[in-house]
């Protein structure tokens, strides 16, 4: 607090100057923060624009076929991004199927259920998962997890789920351990720390008065979580999920190792596929024709668009959830 104002109430010349200085400081502060925010927007638009510009040759040559075509032939110079787009979305969706329930469980446990002494160590362990470089996940996936999938999980899946009418085609094919499912599971493990630590933080930020009154009314811990904590933090929880989804869409190195990098379209989750980020990482160094290079940059632009669409859908969902809550 400003002690001088209180002790010297009769010093009028002093106060306007201070007020003036404060507004000048305020203005500078506003410009600085606005500048920072606009800079982000500028960088974003500039990145999208430069990728669209770099990919213009591919877009002009192939038109809509670039999005709907599944050819990826550097010799015949025909490029279509359908397989990588499909692979990116499917592997990320599998990741979310795995990461969201587990993250929710971790966050609820850490915020509501766990005894205080255990929260620190488990919270730290989850955050350490986020500190592991993605190439380590990739190598672990290739050398440890893929053989495990090939020898134990995939034969079981093919045997039990393969004959089923609708699910069947998703789980057929030789168990090679490398493919969409393996990539999705690894991505799921990688996104857990991002989703769960945000969820835990927002759960812990629920006003204690709310929870305590629910308990006072005789609610069980399960009822408190379901009826107080989650409704109160709904939008932040959805935000956390899409933060993880966005990360899964763009993940490159770990996916490249275990996805199989094959440009053929296959319904089975056990077969190799490709993702946008993996295709760019694999092929950029040796893209030896102008149209090939342009197709890869255009692929980067499409990743941008896909991520943007996903985040826009998240925003819409958020608005609807908020409206329903009122």
């Amino acid at each position: 607090m400003d002690a001088s104002v209180i002790t010297q109430p009769d010093a009028p010349a002093f106060r306007p100057r201070r007020a003036h200085a404060a507004t000048r400081g305020d203005r500078a502060f506003r410009w600085l923060t606005a500048g920072a925010a606009w800079l982000v927007l500028f960088v974003l638009v500039a990145a999208a624009a430069s990728m669209a510009w770099g990919g213009r040759l591919a877009f002009r040559t192939f038109g809509w076929d670039f999005i709907t075509g599944s050819d990826w032939d550097a010799v015949g110079q025909r490029f279509g991004a359908l397989v990588p787009i499909y692979g990116t979305l499917v592997s990320s969706a599998i990741a979310m199927l795995i990461a969201v329930p587990i993250s929710l469980g971790i966050a609820i446990f850490l915020a509501e259920v766990a005894p205080r002494w255990i929260r620190g160590p488990i919270g730290l362990a989850v955050e350490l998962l986020a500190a592991i470089p993605s190439i380590i996940y990739g190598m672990w996936g290739l050398f440890v997890f893929a053989p495990f999938m090939a020898n134990h999980i995939e034969p079981w899946l093919t045997e039990r789920l393969g004959p089923l009418p609708i699910l069947g085609p998703l789980f057929s094919g030789p168990p090679i351990g490398i493919g969409m499912l393996t990539a999705g599971i690894i991505l799921g493990i990688m996104t857990i720390p991002f989703i769960s630590s945000v969820m835990r933080d927002v759960f812990q930020a629920v006003p204690p008065a709310l929870r305590e009154s629910a308990f006072a009314l005789g609610a069980t811990p399960w009822e408190v979580v379901r009826k107080v904590t989650i409704p109160h933090t709904r939008s932040a929880v959805i935000g956390a999920i899409f933060l993880g989804f966005g990360r899964a869409l763009g993940e490159t190195m770990a996916v490249t190792f275990v996805l199989g990098n094959a440009h053929d379209f296959s319904v089975s989750l056990l077969m190799p596929g490709n993702s946008i980020a993996a295709a760019i990482a694999n092929e950029f160094t040796e893209a030896d024709s102008a149209i090939y290079l342009s197709a890869l940059i255009a692929l980067g632009f499409l990743l941008f668009v896909v991520t943007f669409i996903v985040l826009a859908i998240a925003k819409l969902m958020l608005v609807r959830v908020e409206r329903k809550a009122r």
């Binding site: 050819d71 990826w72 032939d73 550097a74 010799v75 015949g76 955050e127 986020a130 500190a131 290739l142 050398f143 893929a146 053989p147 090939a150 030789p174 090679i176 351990g177 490398i178 493919g179 720390p193 991002f194 630590s197 945000v198 933080d201 490249t256 190792f257 199989g260 990098n261 094959a262 440009h263 053929d264 190799p272 993996a278 990482a281 694999n282 092929e283 160094t285 040796e286 893209a287 030896d288």
Partner: protein, 345 residues
């Protein structure tokens, strides 16, 4: 602590890394530092040569293994003193850019398998069979086309998992160049290039990626550079050559292919050695080429690079053998020396 609070630490680590970059080994930017870029295949031998050459009082050679395509792009842009590629450039393209080209070392591309009970060198392949497997026409190890070539070898009735490179590469170029030459069906459907549209299979990144996939996936078939076969003790197969004999990959069979190839009539050494004639020649023998400007903008550095390559082609050959590369046959080395004197000054 949230994940975001780690950001400053990450930034600090990044800036530390940037500092150590500047404070580390001196970047050869001086008059006599030689820079090159290209093929990943020759990176181990070039860095060994560079170290030994510098130790013996020569200039430092800084080589970036960015891939053959990148090497060609960089030398054309004039950002490096030499480029290295596993795929030779045609003389017309060289002339247009004012470049000269010569072979540096030899290697081979080898089919490798992972089948229980099969020993290295036991399986026999022909070019058309390899093409049919990579086209997805031959799907199982129990296919009669494989059994006919391998009487007495018990092969499982399991599907073949085909492994190929996911990145563009000179290894792929030599492999598909061979398949294109020997199989009209391959030529028509896939063709040749540093990366192609594979009809079947999974893609591994780099030779090490393909080697890892083949080692991981039972009943798989892939192709890698010879050095990876030796270093990872992989199960290689024999391939039938143009003379009709089945030949195992080895330094001797690569050299046989190189010495039977008609280098004398190949302008700017533009020759891909696949399917070379000769009784003992291995059919998928590959060469790494170096590209340099005939009239360099920086003659001093160009001369230093030439001096280095002369040294490598004479004194450095023993080290090439130690690292599982195959030196050029003496006749070819002499031709290269004459080419360096006459064409690249």
């Amino acid at each position: 602590m949230t994940i975001f609070s780690r950001l400053p630490i990450a930034l600090a680590a990044l800036s530390l890394a940037a500092c150590s970059d500047n404070g580390g080994a001196p970047v050869p930017t001086g008059q006599n530092g030689v820079t090159g870029a290209g093929s990943t295949f020759v990176y181990p031998i070039l860095s060994k040569w560079s170290a030994d050459y510098a130790e013996g009082g020569g200039d430092r050679v800084n080589y970036q293994s960015i891939g053959s395509g990148g090497g060609i792009a960089q030398i054309k842009a004039g950002t490096v003193d030499f480029g290295a590629s596993d795929k030779p450039l045609p003389p017309a393209e060289l002339a247009q850019a004012g470049l000269g080209q010569f072979p540096l070392v030899i290697g081979g591309v080898v089919p490798v398998v992972n089948i229980a009970g099969i020993k290295p060198g036991q399986l026999r392949f022909t070019g058309p069979l390899l093409a049919d497997i990579y086209l997805g026409k031959v799907k199982s190890w129990s296919d009669p086309a494989i059994a006919r070539l391998n009487p007495g070898v018990s092969l499982p009735a399991k599907p073949i998992t085909v492994v190929h490179r996911s990145d563009g590469s000179g290894t792929t170029f030599n492999w598909v160049h061979y398949l294109s030459q020997i199989s009209p069906a391959w030529q028509a459907r896939v063709g040749e290039g540093t990366s192609v549209q594979w009809p079947v299979g999974v893609g591994g990144k780099g030779n090490e990626g393909v080697a890892a996939y083949v080692n991981q996936i039972p009943n798989s078939l892939g192709y890698v550079e010879y050095a990876y076969v030796i270093q990872n003790r992989m199960t290689f197969g024999q391939v039938q050559n143009a003379a009709g004999r089945f030949v195992a990959p080895s330094a001797a069979s690569f050299q046989a292919a190189a010495s039977h190839a008609d280098w004398a009539h190949a302008q700017d050494f533009h020759l891909v050695m696949t399917n070379a004639p000769g009784e003992d020649a291995y059919p998928i023998t590959a060469t790494t080429f170096v590209m340099m400007y005939k009239a360099s903008k920086n003659p001093q550095r160009s001369a230093a690079a030439l001096k280095f390559f002369r040294w490598a082609l004479s004194k450095g050959q023993a080290e090439a053998t130690a690292l599982d590369y195959v030196p050029l046959p003496p006749d070819l080395a002499k031709q290269v020396d004459a080419y360096l004197t006459s064409t690249i000054k």
